[in-house]
């Protein structure tokens, strides 16, 4: 089960500016060594081809390979199961899209509660803090079971018994705790002088938060936020345990009838195709952020 990063901290200082000055080239780590001369490129290509070629031969010629291939990488099985799994994966997409929207709002609410200054708000801060501690400490699967089986079993009026509903509910509860911490880190990374400037103009606490602090904080936390969302998307597979027919459930059904694990590999592929572009996007945003900070430091 993938647990998202619990705490994200940001280097303080720097004007946290949203605009990037021109210049400042790409700083993405290069896979092909630092020196871009023609010769080095050829050496890199050749060594890569030889290395992976060798690796492939070793794997394919190793004694158990035919069995592994038959069980995990069966072409026929893949062709048959993939469209079925893909169709059910739409359910996962529904689950995590709805959950993400709700997490965005609920987590922001929690973070703002916890960031309220002044002694009057102590109970609210305690409440919000306890919430995040609680739900970051409980395994997601446990929350899903508790709510998904427990709540409908109460047979209370007005409580929905849809497993789809409780699946989303559980994911929102758990992931809001993580994302609230991300938001809070963002809020705390905005220097106190911004609040002072806002308050000195006569803005109220809430107005300072709403117009000055939050817009800057949210912009800063978009990369770690996306990171947590990748975790949420993967955890949408846990919903299968409630009997929601989604990708994982479908793959399990096929596996149990065919005694072949290729459907799981097919599902893994779907997840990877889905999450890798997002991971790259996060990388790019972090790199951009870093450039911005470096540019800010030279000002």
């Amino acid at each position: 089960m993938a647990e998202p990063s619990p705490e994200v901290s940001f280097p303080k200082g720097g004007p946290g500016d949203p605009r990037v000055p021109p210049g400042g080239g790409s700083r993405r780590p290069r896979i092909l060594g630092g020196d871009a001369s023609q010769r080095n490129v050829w050496i890199a290509v050749a060594s890569t081809v030889i290395f992976f070629g060798f690796l492939t031969i070793v794997i394919v010629r190793s004694p158990g390979w035919p069995e592994v291939k038959q069980s995990f990488f069966n072409g026929q099985e893949f062709k048959e199961s993939f469209p079925l799994i893909l169709r059910k994966f739409v359910r996962n997409i529904q689950i995590f899209c709805v959950a993400e929207v709700m997490v965005l709002a609920f987590a922001l609410f929690l973070a703002v509660l916890r960031s309220l200054p002044g002694p009057v708000f102590t109970p609210l801060r305690i409440l919000s803090g306890a919430y995040t501690d609680l739900f970051r400490g409980i395994p997601t699967i446990l929350v899903i079971f508790l709510l998904g089986y427990g709540m409908p079993a109460l047979n209370l009026q007005g409580i929905p018994d849809s497993d789809f509903f409780w699946a989303i509910f559980a994911l929102v509860l758990v992931y809001s705790a993580y994302v609230a911490e991300v938001y809070r880190a963002g809020i705390q990374s905005i220097h106190g002088s911004q609040t002072a400037a806002a308050r000195s103009l006569g803005l109220s606490r809430w107005q300072s938060m709403r117009y000055v602090i939050l817009p800057q904080a949210v912009r800063r936390v978009i990369p770690p936020l996306l990171n947590d969302f990748i975790g949420l998307q993967k955890d949408s597979a846990l919903v299968a345990f409630l009997g929601v027919t989604e990708g994982f459930q479908q793959a399990t059904i096929i596996q149990q009838s065919d005694f072949n694990f290729t459907p799981f590999v097919a599902l893994a592929l779907v997840y990877i195709v889905f999450t890798i572009p997002q991971a790259r996007l996060v990388d790019r945003m972090i790199a951009r952020d870093q450039r911005r900070r470096q540019a800010g430091a030279t000002l």
């Binding site: 500016d17 605009r19 000195s200 800057q216």
Partner: protein, 248 residues
């Protein structure tokens, strides 16, 4: 003359560190008072206390005869009438210059967007920043940013303007453009309390200079007297050091 700011026996500590040890100061309307003194003497803290950005431990501060440190005072309402400009500008980086200036008039004074924008543009124009209205702060030089911060404070039509070492973070060649703005404001009769290290400027613009040392006002008077014949030994030593450093 009528009174603008009255400070009586003001005390302020941070934990165990006493920063202000009994400040008495009266600022008249249209008066420009400069606070001088070494770093750590309490100048900035005094200004922050006047704007209620720091809670005070003892004493009283009144604006136009009304005690603003009394219980139940609406702090937001007080700050609305007091402008403060900080050493590090503190512009809002996610907003354009115009948005920076118009934010408080719209949200606090409830002016219409159009009206606030129009007035903000007028103010920016007056201080030579009209062409920067739609830029983001980090595209501006330090001097321009500080002028925007001044305009932002002025957009609230404050009764008093507090300036907290507003040129200390600027490159030397950018200091003059900011000080010129303050001179203009002084000429128009703006009531100002200015914490500064720029002695020549203080001598030039202030009606009265207060020398702060270790949380107390040790000496105050017209700039000519303070700078040429200080009576307090510590004032004299401070000014000697400033002159030796070539700052005057």
């Amino acid at each position: 003359m009528t009174e603008s700011v009255r400070i009586e026996a003001l005390q302020k500590s941070f934990d165990d560190l006493a920063v202000l040890k009994g400040i008495d100061l009266v600022v008249q309307k249209h008066e420009v008072v400069c606070l001088i003194g070494a770093s750590g003497s309490g100048k900035s803290t005094l200004l922050r206390c006047i704007d209620l950005l720091e809670p005070i431990d003892a004493g009283r501060i009144s604006i136009d005869g009304i005690d603003i440190t009394a219980r139940g005072t609406d702090h937001d309402a007080v700050r609305r009438r007091i402008g403060i400009v900080f050493q590090s500008f503190n512009l809002f980086p996610h907003m354009t210059v115009l948005q920076n200036v118009a934010l408080a008039p719209v949200k606090v004074l409830k002016q219409s967007r159009d009206r606030a924008a129009e007035r903000s543009r007028e103010l920016l124009e007056r201080f030579g920043l009209a062409d920067k209205a739609d830029e983001y702060p980090d595209r501006l030089s330090g001097g321009q940013q500080q002028r925007v911060a001044i305009v932002r404070a002025l957009a609230m039509d404050p009764d008093v303007l507090l300036l907290d070492e507003i040129t200390s973070a600027l490159d030397p060649e950018l200091v003059a453009e900011v000080l010129d703005v303050i001179r203009e404001l002084a000429a128009q009769g703006m009531t100002m309390v200015i914490a500064t290290h720029e002695m020549a400027f203080a001598r030039d613009v202030a009606h009265r200079v207060c020398f702060l040392d270790d949380g107390r006002i040790l000496e105050e008077g017209p700039p000519d007297r303070i700078f040429s014949e200080p009576t307090n030994e510590r004032t004299r030593r401070f000014l000697d050091r400033i002159i030796a450093a070539g700052r005057m």
